[in-house]
């Protein structure tokens, strides 16, 4: 092992989170490991893979001051009436549904349209519709107009409107000039969670266009119809919204790995490391939505949001299965101004393994293609490739393996590595609907742990259908779901046992020795 001195935790924003050397020696046998960041199970040995992973806060930080100033804004007055139009009174909108272009055609005057749990709208500063999750933007232009009216009324009063509550609906606004994003939700998510989701949507749009381009467009023509540029990519935003409901990684600001013997992972990583090129910044090997390995240029960190945008891009399109893809992509947490160029291809036609090579040079296609060939050449000479393919057959594990009878499911995130692990959903939560319900419960707990003014370190909740425990330390974040028959004492005992199990398995479940070129 190379020296601990290289630990990049020292390079995190303020450097104070780096664990002392004395703590690192406790790694193996600490009874409750990981109370301190850098020693928790899953913490990398040499360097963090991502920009500092506590980024849930940096997603919403700007929003927070406002929230703190006034927890909820101005419910009365003009707002309320207009809001009813938005969230579902029986008034009819005029709408001519002429466009056949969207498959998600849906009558925006219908009950079904109103009853969706979460609507998301994006409009320009000038009030032009850009995106709607359900129905078509054309049909919604009157609704969008109402939203703009709300935004401008409140902005004129020097308030930045954040959220309005009415009729069991919450409306949240995010102004990110030149865009305005609006979420209308019937869920019980907090403002902060909803804002987090709107931020993701914002970054999704920026990643297609760059912020520089967005600003230029609207500077030149305030009335520009941005749908022209986003045409054909709406499905990325649609899919991202679905992921926000289902994928714990987006909630935890973390990424999960394909369980893999560390020796195999190390071989794959070093094969990828050898296939470098001057302008290659990141090499990412994915198995579905799981990370196999990630290589980066020294001193360049990928943000988990950018990585999730890459996951979303790859997961949403079957087009990369034909030949080799080459596409501009902006990684907005890295740089909102410019495009990277990503070479995207599957290792084999029917394989889950997808390689993404990110270069700074748009003319680098053949270099990237060559890097892939060199990687494949190295990999296929070693036994690691069959081992990797074998591991694809069991991309997840069952909670029974942990050996805690009352435990049904859990999410565990190592803060310093930005990686999380979680077993597959047990039978009780197999259906989409139950899965989303459980994710909703986790989101609730997450909100409590990350409350802007009164964050909790520890939550225990008993319910009819399950008991939940959440715990955050400076090293990890842990969410557990127990059968409703369990007791609090059992739950607390389970934590110790689970942490021990994760420690034992951490080689397989996490990337402990990330490499750089």
């Amino acid at each position: 092992m190379e020296g601990d001195s290289q630990r990049a935790s020292a390079s995190w924003e303020n450097g104070t989170l780096a664990p002392g050397e004395h703590l690192r020696s406790d790694r193996a046998d600490s009874p409750l490991p990981g109370l301190v960041e850098g020693t928790e199970p899953g913490a990398g040995q040499k360097s963090a893979m991502f920009v500092h992973a506590q980024s849930f806060e940096d997603l919403t930080a700007e929003a927070e001051e406002e929230v703190r100033r006034e927890a909820e804004i101005n419910k009365s007055g003009d707002g309320e009436e207009e809001l009813k139009v938005l969230v579902g009174e029986k008034e009819q909108h005029s709408s001519d549904m002429t466009s056949e272009s969207r498959t998600k055609e849906e009558d925006v005057t219908s009950e079904a349209w109103r009853s969706h749990r979460k609507h998301v709208f994006v409009l320009s500063d000038a009030g032009k519709p850009i995106y709607t999750r359900y129905g078509t933007e054309e049909a919604l232009s009157s609704t969008m107009g109402v939203m703009m009216a709300l935004v401008s009324v409140v902005e004129a009063e020097k308030n930045i409107i954040r959220s309005i509550q009415a009729d069991g609906c919450k409306v949240v606004f995010l102004t990110k000039s030149p865009l305005v994003l609006v979420g209308v939700s019937r869920t019980c998510q907090s403002d902060k969670e909803l804002l987090r989701e709107l931020h993701y949507i914002y970054y999704q749009i920026v990643s297609l266009l760059t912020l520089t381009q967005l600003n230029n467009i609207f500077k030149n023509k305030q009335n520009y119809d941005l749908r022209r540029l986003l045409a054909g990519s709406e499905y990325l935003t649609d899919n991202l919204l679905t992921r926000l409901e289902r994928d714990p990684g987006l909630l935890l600001s973390a990424v999960t790995c394909l369980p893999l013997a560390s020796s195999t992972r190390d071989t794959v990583s070093s094969s990828l490391q050898a296939a470098k090129s001057k302008n290659l910044v990141f090499s990412i090997l994915l198995a579905g939505d799981r990370l196999v390995t990630l290589l980066r240029k020294k001193d360049q960190f990928l943000h988990h949001i950018d990585l999730h945008l890459v996951f979303n891009l790859v997961g949403s399109s079957s087009s990369f299965r034909e030949g080799e893809g080459w596409t501009p992509i902006c990684l907005p947490k890295f740089n909102t101004a410019g495009f990277f160029h990503a070479h995207i291809s599957y290792l084999e036609p029917a394989s889950e393994l997808c390689l993404i090579l990110v270069s700074t040079d748009r003319e680098d296609f053949f270099n990237m293609s060559d890097c892939k060939k060199r990687f494949m050449e190295r990999l296929s000479k070693r036994s690691a490739y069959p081992a990797l393919k074998e591991a694809l057959k069991s991309p997840t594990y069952s909670v029974e393996q942990v050996g805690i009878p009352e435990l049904r499911h859990f999410l565990y995130k190592s803060k310093s590595s930005g990686l999380y692990t979680s077993p597959e959903f047990p039978d009780v939560y197999k259906s989409d609907c139950e899965q989303e319900r459980l994710m909703g419960l986790y989101q609730d707990l997450h909100s409590s742990l990350h409350h802007p003014t009164r964050p909790l370190r520890y939550v225990y909740r008993c319910g009819d259908t399950e008991n939940l425990l959440a715990w955050v330390t400076s090293g990890f974040e842990l969410y557990l779901c127990f059968s409703p028959l369990g007791t609090k004492a059992l739950a607390v005992a389970a934590v110790t046992k689970l942490l021990k199990w994760i420690r034992k398995e951490e080689d397989r479940l996490f990337i402990l020795s990330p490499l750089t070129y």
Binding site: L208, L209, R228, L229, L230, A231, G232, S233, Y235, L313, S316, S317, S318, S319, F320, R321, E322, G323, E324, G325, W326, T327, P328, A342, I344, L347, E348, P349, R362, E363, F365, S369, D370, K373, R374, M376, E377, S380, K381, Y385
Partner: protein, 223 residues
């Protein structure tokens, strides 16, 4: 005929004397949804499958054997969406062949193909580039908005070749690729050194020996 379509294995004649393999850069241009990716898939894998819209650009290769020479088509299948417009010159710059694809059941795409044509004529292409107008979705006869005559007369006026295809049924697709191959040889190949020679790189070779060949799908290297 001594030439073969891609899917036919090499005959003894070509095996006995080594033939040169020349690289041909071909770009597919046109509105999104006209069937560029479906055509590319037909060229390279002889199949039709529904896939999602192309993100950025896709690169595929296919080898075509002619009597005198083997051509390795390096196909750039562009997305055709406006947001990628600024990078498209990357793909048509230096192309030996450009297919301007439209959908015969959608007049807008025919107009759009002419916009592409103007851009090509104005900007980057030398006279030796083979330009081919392709009216795809020929199977949608009952929804036709652009007649074959219209396509043909545009082609005549502007000095393009013209074919109607169906990527769905495969109709005229092989003929199109072969036609392009011939024209490229005539128009471009006449100029000495206009096409560079393709050399198999050692690592591809190695993959063959290992029986594991991740590139086999898109790169059938000729006999």
């Amino acid at each position: 005929m001594g030439e073969k379509l891609p899917k036919v294995p090499g005959d003894p004649d070509t095996l006995s004397r080594p033939m040169r393999t020349l690289r041909v850069k071909m770009v597919l241009l046109g509105s999104s949804g006209v069937g560029k990716s479906s055509l590319a898939l037909q060229f390279c894998k002889d199949e039709f499958r529904r896939t999602s819209p192309t993100v950025g650009c896709a690169y595929l290769t296919q080898v075509v054997h002619l009597r005198e020479v083997t051509l390795r088509f390096e196909i750039w299948d562009t997305a055709g969406e406006e947001k990628y417009h600024s990078v498209t010159p990357l793909y048509y710059r230096g192309a030996h062949a450009a297919l301007l694809v439209y959908d015969i059941s959608n007049r807008d795409t025919f107009i759009r193909a002419q916009v592409w044509l103007r851009e090509l004529e104005k900007q980057y292409l030398s006279g030796s580039t083979v330009l081919w107008l392709v009216g795809n979705k020929g199977d949608l006869e009952q929804r036709r908005q652009v007649s074959a005559q219209e396509g043909q007369s545009l082609a005549n006026d502007r000095g393009l070749f013209f074919t109607e295809t169906s990527a769905l049924s495969g109709d005229q697709v092989e003929q199109l690729l072969l036609g392009v191959a011939h024209r490229v040889c005539e128009c471009v190949g006449a100029q000495q050194g206009a096409l560079s020679e393709w050399k198999e790189t050692p690592h591809v070779d190695l993959c063959h020996r290992n029986t594991f060949n991740p590139f086999a799908s898109c790169c059938k290297v000729g006999p």
